[in-house]
Symmetry: C2
């Protein structure tokens, strides 16, 4: 071993040892009081992280499955919806909706930028037929966090329902579901929750349930009604088909860690790590890609002239053990992304900055060695 | 500890220690050569277990998600399909199809019995508009295995496509996908594959792909085309969204164990365990529920008069550590089910029989103590 392996991507994140250990326990059957107790605790714990009193369902699926569930349970063919997109994951809403024959008012800003709540207000006024607004808490393809609080206040003044993909942001950056009036919020497992991928959590407000009653898209696997009925049936905390038992056991342990640290502290840690990475990159003369509100989850950095971005990414990963994320789609060789999410601390950030410095230096990029880590430290030491 | 915990249900099954240990390894990112290598190996290994050269896709979902994928990719609203059902899981095909506006020719035998291939032939002849036949390899709600070979030969002589839910049978009892002309076969994770639930494997023949081209049901998450495109894209062995990384790592280890034992030996082990449980139950004077071909996966046993079936099940589980399965739906207190599936061996079967004997004895059921385990041993010792 030359270098330990570190995952500094916007998910999956590294998994805490006690959460890994949970997966080593013998599996239990899902139709038992023992499992129902765990599932009940997990639902209660997730509601605290989501900051909601709304119903919460868990699907055995990737986060995208949770997104699909929102589309097929809320919409009907021919409906009009609004997508407020800042990148690849915002665009996924439009792709899913179109697959289901829904008419999409697609509002997409220049990548790197941030959806303007006032523009959403304008479009909702111009198109009163819009039934649902779909958006993203943390657009990881560009490294931008959206102002869900502002969007929530605007949408709540209309009859439309607000759906937020908080897959990568939940448990890392504030997402106050009820306070911000987000009707449906979706989270994944492998991000702020620090467990392996395979679970999607979905909360549903009473407004969303009302709309769901009118939905005419056929569904079975992702039916909210079926899942909710099983959860609240006579044999409480059931599921309509086999749940992902081991992941739910891991989620229970992860929620214990989250409660121990406290949501406020977790948000502060992510904000601090994000700010220190941004400061470090700028101290190295690199340009940040985000022009909108920079993300607390992942920082996108422009590849400077004369540097091979793909090679940089591979050197950091294959030689120095730290997996960053490359650019997605049209940003493939133009940016690299540094995740500071989930099971990551201040010193992981310093390590990532050091590895990036080294790989840049090897490509002959002109900079002052140590400038990045120095800037990172200054932010970390000064943070409350 | 008085008694170790043993899972003797038709899934989840106990997990081999080396497969559990796999889940303790640090997680890896899914967009890496390292993960693509594992995924490629897993797909190849699964094809060997499925005994197929057809395309194989893996969805992050419960087995039911794999079933839904077959309905939404093969059918169009208004199509007619045939369901050959022997119980709860056969009926699930009808429920999913109806949810999607499909017209169902529902052929259901008295529970405990077995679908008659000749009846399927008759119905296909009477309804030439049937596009797909949906059936089940191992109907775990009643403990009956279907004759897929015979059904496959019949369906292959018609233009209809054959879809087999092999979720609980695959990797336990023979399922020769290509030889038996099964166009689409679905398997789960927590059954013969001995890993935690959360993966669905689906194979697709060229006949099925042809039909899928005409499908008009909207889909996104379960789109075969999207999943197949990602698997065969430039960056090979990719997935359209985040795969269940940890479960796929566990599947890789499980496939190593399966190859080591060999499919023929695994099938023999399951047949032997099943036969010994049946023999033991009969030696105790209990009646087997299955009137059709009894399953190699799970044995369903009628609760005898004077015995409280729910209490029996709970005593065996809570006092003696062995989790059996109760009856489902209308069979709730009428039968109990003994799983002999996945990570289970001859001595687990003897242990389960002994615990059942003890619980029966405690309820004052008249029998010769030791008759069950003696009968079980005789079968086990005599087996080749």
């Amino acid at each position: 071993m030359n270098f330990k392996k570190r995952l500094m991507t916007p998910g999956p994140t590294d998994i805490p040892p006690s959460v890994l250990a949970e997966a080593c326990k013998p599996i239990i059957h899902h139709r038992t009081p023992q499992f129902r107790k765990i599932l009940t605790e997990v639902v209660a714990g997730l509601k605290r992280v989501f900051q909601t009193n709304n119903d919460l369902l868990i699907f055995p699926a990737a986060g995208t499955g949770g997104m699909e569930s929102a589309v097929v349970n809320l919409c009907s063919p021919g409906d009009t919806i609004l997508t407020a997109s800042c990148g690849n994951f915002g665009n996924r809403w439009t792709a899913i909706a179109k697959a289901y024959g829904i008419s999409v008012e697609h509002y997409e800003v220049e990548w790197g930028g941030e959806s303007d709540p006032q523009e959403i207000k304008k479009r909702l006024a111009a198109h009163p037929e819009i039934k649902v607004v779909f958006t993203t808490l943390s657009e990881t393809s560009t490294g931008v966090d959206l102002d869900i609080s502002a969007i929530g206040n605007i949408v709540a003044q209309t009859p439309a329902v607000l759906v937020v993909d908080a897959i990568s942001g939940m448990g890392a950056t504030p997402m106050k579901t009820d306070e911000w009036k987000a009707d449906v919020v979706i989270a994944g497992a492998q991000k702020g929750f620090m467990i392996p991928p395979g679970l999607a959590g979905v909360t549903i407000s009473s407004r969303a349930w009302e709309l769901a009653k009118t939905s005419k898209i056929p569904k079975y696997y992702f039916s909210w009604e079926k899942a909710h009925k099983a959860m609240t049936a006579e044999a409480l905390a059931n599921t309509p088909y086999t749940p992902s038992v081991s992941l739910i056991m891991q989620m229970a342990e992860s929620l214990r860690l989250i409660e121990e640290e406290g949501m406020e502290n977790i948000w502060k840690r992510h904000a601090r790590m994000a700010q220190s990475v941004r400061s470090a990159m700028e101290a190295l003369g690199l340009k940040l890609f985000a022009t909108g509100r920079p993300s607390n989850v992942v920082t996108s950095v422009c590849v400077p002239e004369g540097v091979d971005g793909i090679k940089l990414f591979k050197t950091v990963r294959d030689t120095y053990g730290i997996t960053l994320a490359g650019g997605q789609g049209k940003l493939k060789d133009r940016i690299f992304r540094v995740g500071h999410l989930g099971y990551a601390d201040d010193w992981d950030v310093v390590a990532a900055v050091a590895a990036i410095e080294r790989a840049l230096n090897e490509q002959g990029y002109v900079m002052e060695i140590g400038a990045g880590v120095t800037a990172a430290e200054k932010v970390l030491f000064a943070a409350e």
